[in-house]
């Protein structure tokens, strides 16, 4: 009887897990919006990078919208640019800025590859295109 009570206590004392099964699509949407925001912040700081980075920022926003559509969540296109999480290098060093964007795209590519690998069949093609798009962004930033 004490054993059973203890086991019961242990069960209820455990900290509730806020997200026991994180939605992989929700995480990818957040990641896409953060990548878009990083490119947009870079363009704001260095307008001469616009032609190079603007298509990348737009692609990430299109990815977020398409992911929201297939997951049935409200389209994030109306969401204002998220605050960039990665600190932009100060002092206007364009090379360092491009290197940080490249790293962010590489991390994003890995996340999308993992998501595609684990996805149900009906999401595989879209997630594969997003992974491939991020790989081409890495190439553009090389």
């Amino acid at each position: 009887m004490p054993t059973a009570a203890l086991a019961g206590c242990g069960l209820f004392d455990r900290e509730p897990d806020p997200s026991p099964t994180p939605d992989p699509l929700a995480e990818l949407i957040t990641g896409a919006l953060e990548l878009a925001a990083q490119h947009e912040a870079a363009i704001a700081a260095h307008p001469e990078l616009t032609s190079r980075l603007e298509p990348l920022a737009r692609a990430h926003r299109q990815h977020a919208a398409e992911l929201a559509r297939i997951s049935g969540t409200p389209t994030p296109s109306a969401t204002p640019a998220a605050t960039p999480t990665a600190a932009q290098p100060a002092g206007g060093d364009i090379q360092a800025l491009l290197a940080s964007l490249r790293e962010a795209e590489q991390a994003g590519q890995r996340a999308a590859v993992e998501a595609c690998r684990a996805a149900p069949a009906h999401h595989a093609a879209l997630l594969g295109s997003i992974a491939a798009a991020r790989a081409t962004h890495v190439e553009v930033l090389a």
């Binding site: 299109q62 594969g128 295109s129 798009a133």
Partner: protein
């Protein structure tokens, strides 16, 4: 035809196309064409192994493939290289849903490689933008 067999057929066509592409290029672009052709041969070989292991009969290469437009100079060669990589990317992408696990990872690698090469060819050709939002997705 399954998606994997269609990807193999696309790889056969890509390998054929890099012949006429390569002879119209020089310097770095020619080296890129040679590397691309090698990469397509590796993907082809891996697909033949994969399909054979599954008991499917891999479609053989045709003796020749009709090119979508004549390749007469550097400009048309680069245009065909972009076209070939986009088409092969689409074939790989279409095979994703029918795969799982390591096989899906392999198919995704095929898609990613084609998409990256398409971007490189757009850079050689001076085409902007260098990227598309959804590589391999039908228009």
């Amino acid at each position: 035809m399954t998606g994997l067999a269609a990807a193999l057929a696309a790889e056969h066509a890509a390998i054929f196309a890099y012949g006429p592409i390569g002879v119209r290029l020089d310097g770095a672009a020619r080296r890129e064409a040679r590397a691309a052709e090698e990469a397509h041969r590796s993907r082809r070989d891996a697909l033949v192994v994969l399909l054979s292991a599954e008991g499917a009969s891999p479609p053989p290469a045709e003796p020749a493939y009709a090119l979508p437009f004549p390749v007469t100079d550097r400009t048309s060669a680069l245009r065909l290289a972009i076209h070939i990589e986009e088409r092969t990317a689409a074939a790989w992408r279409a095979a994703l849903p029918e795969t799982t696990g390591d096989q899906r990872a392999q198919v995704l690698d095929g898609l990613i490689d084609c998409a990256v090469r398409a971007t490189r060819w757009r850079r050689f050709a001076g085409v902007a933008p260098l990227t598309v939002p959804f590589p391999g997705r039908p228009d």
